[in-house]
């Protein structure tokens, strides 16, 4: 009896010790994780300070430099440091702090510097206004560096640890997307203050992809008069039912969307075919902007060529004339084909439409004209000032040219440039090189990335 009691006691002690061992193991494990995490965040934070300081210093140099050629490299350095800083901000665990304005500032400084770097690389000097802008950026960068140092002081004496931000329980459920108050908690407040200050900066308009004017470009392809929801529903129904053998009804009409292209969304369903169709019809002009069909296609019975014919016919039926295919790819028994507009002998790349064809029965299961509707208008196509031969003489001897044609291509900042498009090969890779048809400048190079089922159709 007594020995049995003693056994129970011993097992009890064994269990307690077992739990203690387990707890100790867990404790050491989490301390290991915490230290690894802290090291990462410390590195990111010090990298951030470093990049902001470097950007500030180089911005200063770019203001005082008198040599366009030298400034091209200064500005490229600003671009690198500022955009790295923007990325690094996104690594830090800034829980509860909205950093949108800070990151936008860093991205735009980098992007602006890149645009000017290209300009100076061509031998042009900076304008007075551009130099002024760089000097304002330098001042902002200096304030940013100062604020980051104030937090660095507290990190240095161990008053604050980044990993402690992670450990707070209950944070996961309350945080979704980038929710949050403007001023973050405690030690992170300095970031909230930075962000508030940078939010006050005026809009920046220049020739780069992150310029503020890009957001405000008005869609040019939305012609025609306003339609109401009933008319839009009728347009959606007809668009879907032009395809033989399918009868879809509108089963849901949604509230008009806000944003750049106000549109009416609809859901259409059919009694005899699976799949729900989601479609957006623009309020202005009643254009079908995009359509997706959720149907899963499980087999292929029609050829890629037949799918191409099907898509071309579909575009003609819907008043998209003179569209030529540029790229097609097969994915899961569907074929996605990109078409662009052709005017005369000029390929208009900004006017782009995508069509998705189901390879089991040829149904059009996807359509996207967003880009076309934003970009398309009646353009005056100029005549080239360079001959094809002259343009070709500007190409690198490394490239073996296969063919060429005239094209209009979209550039950063929403501009369009009139170019010669050269398709050529180097090391079995296909490249597209774009030479400005007016001044012979090399505007862009695209490399074709080979994907298993994709192919160029030009």
């Amino acid at each position: 009896m007594k020995s049995r009691m003693r056994w129970f006691g011993l097992i009890g002690v064994a269990l307690v010790l077992g739990v203690l061992t387990w707890g100790g193991y867990q404790g050491r494990l989490s301390a290991g994780y915490r230290n690894a995490l802290e090291a990462q965040y410390q590195r990111d934070f010090y990298d951030l300070i470093n990049r902001v300081e470097q950007a500030q210093v180089t911005l200063g140099k770019s203001v005082v430099s008198g040599s366009a050629a030298h400034n091209a490299s200064n500005l490229a350095e600003v671009w690198f440091q500022a955009s790295s800083a923007s990325d690094t901000v996104a690594h830090l665990p800034l829980k509860g702090v909205n950093m949108a304005a800070t990151r936008k500032f860093l991205t735009q400084v980098g992007d602006y510097a890149r645009t000017l770097s290209l300009k100076t690389a061509r031998g042009d000097n900076l304008s007075k206004k551009e130099t002024q802008q760089l000097s304002e950026f330098e001042a902002e960068m200096a304030k940013l560096a100062r604020d980051l140092h104030s937090l660095e002081n507290r990190l240095g004496i161990g008053e604050f640890r980044w990993a402690s931000v992670i450990g707070t329980p209950g944070m996961i459920s309350s945080i979704r997307t980038r929710t949050v108050q403007e001023d973050g908690p405690g030690n992170l407040r300095v970031f909230g203050d930075i962000n508030q200050r940078l939010q006050q900066l005026p809009n920046l308009i220049y020739d780069g992809p992150f310029s503020d004017h890009i957001e405000e470009i008005k869609p040019r392809g939305l012609t025609g008069s306003m339609v109401n929801q009933n008319q839009a529903a009728e347009i959606a129904r007809r668009f879907v039912n032009t395809q033989q053998g399918f009868v879809y009804r509108v089963t849901e009409s949604r509230k008009r969307t806000a944003g750049r292209i106000p549109a009416y969304p609809f859901i259409l369903e059919s009694r005899n075919t699976p799949g729900r169709i989601f479609i957006n019809v623009s309020e202005k002009g009643g254009h079908v902007i995009m359509m997706v069909n959720s149907r899963r296609v499980t087999s292929s019975s029609i050829s890629p060529e037949a799918a191409m014919d099907r898509a071309s016919r579909f575009l003609r039926e819907n008043n998209y004339s003179d569209m030529i295919p540029t790229f097609a790819a097969s994915l899961d028994n569907t074929r996605v084909i990109t078409f662009v507009k052709r005017e005369g002998n000029v390929v208009i790349y900004p006017d782009q439409v995508k069509v998705k064809v189901a390879l089991d029965n040829g149904q059009i299961t996807g359509f996207d004209a967003t880009q076309y509707l934003v970009a398309h208008y009646d353009r005056d196509i100029p005549s080239p000032q360079l001959s094809q031969q002259e343009a070709r003489a500007r190409l690198s001897p490394m490239i073996k040219v296969e063919n060429s044609r005239l094209a209009l291509i979209p550039m950063d900042g929403g501009r369009e440039v009139f170019v010669y498009e050269f398709r050529g090969t180097y090391n079995e890779d296909v490249y597209f090189i774009y030479i400005n048809a007016k001044n012979g400048r090399e505007e862009n190079i695209l490399k074709l990335i080979q994907t298993p089922n994709g192919e160029l159709t030009m």
């Binding site: 077992g18 990325d87 945080i175 979704r176 929710t179 992150f210 969307t257 806000a258 990335i449």
Partner: protein
Amino acid sequence: MRKTVGIKRPIAVLILASLLVGMATFLAHENRAFGQERRTLWWGRSGSDVRLVQSTLSNWGYYKGKIDGYYAYSTVAAVRRFQRDAGLFPDGVVGRKTWEALGFPVIARAQTAFRPVTRNDELSLLARVITGEAQGEPYEGQVAVGAVILNRVRHPSFPKTLAGVIYEPWAFESVANGLIWTRPISPTAWRAAQDALNGWDPTFGSVFFWNPSKPVSGWIWTRKIITRLGNHVFAR
């Protein structure tokens, strides 16, 4: 002399007990099946991915045994039968082709070392987050979540790479709570990710989405709301 024996035994028990507990802890950590990077399975393996194979084969009538997560004789035989019917070499090993035949696409790897196709990597990452964030949403809602992530890549206030956007601390709930690693990618999310990567965007350039029935901070409502799809509000 007798006393020492009496003390030694409990110590042995203690050591044994702590060892057992320690081992159990280790196993709990090591044995977790990891997302979609599917392991190759053969005789002797165990885990939740084995259970997945067993339950799939059992639904299709190939496997009659217990769904116990152990890859033993009956599982090997069932896999062989399935492979024969699926036109695969009946080796009883669940590799990439067999996983695919079972309906679980394995992350596609770049084709060759020197000519990488990055979009395949992007596709599985995007599909994973769509599964984590929008499982059960209507199809267009899943495409929309993919589109928001891609719109962020092109927006000045967000990181410039897909991984940068997705792994930004607290940007996505399913990344923060680990759901993207544990939920298998759904075939619908896979197609939605393809459509989003091909440029389909039902949200007109939105960079935020949230479920208004869950607690969100007031700040988010100051954004311009573009549309609502399924349970999510989309804004920029």
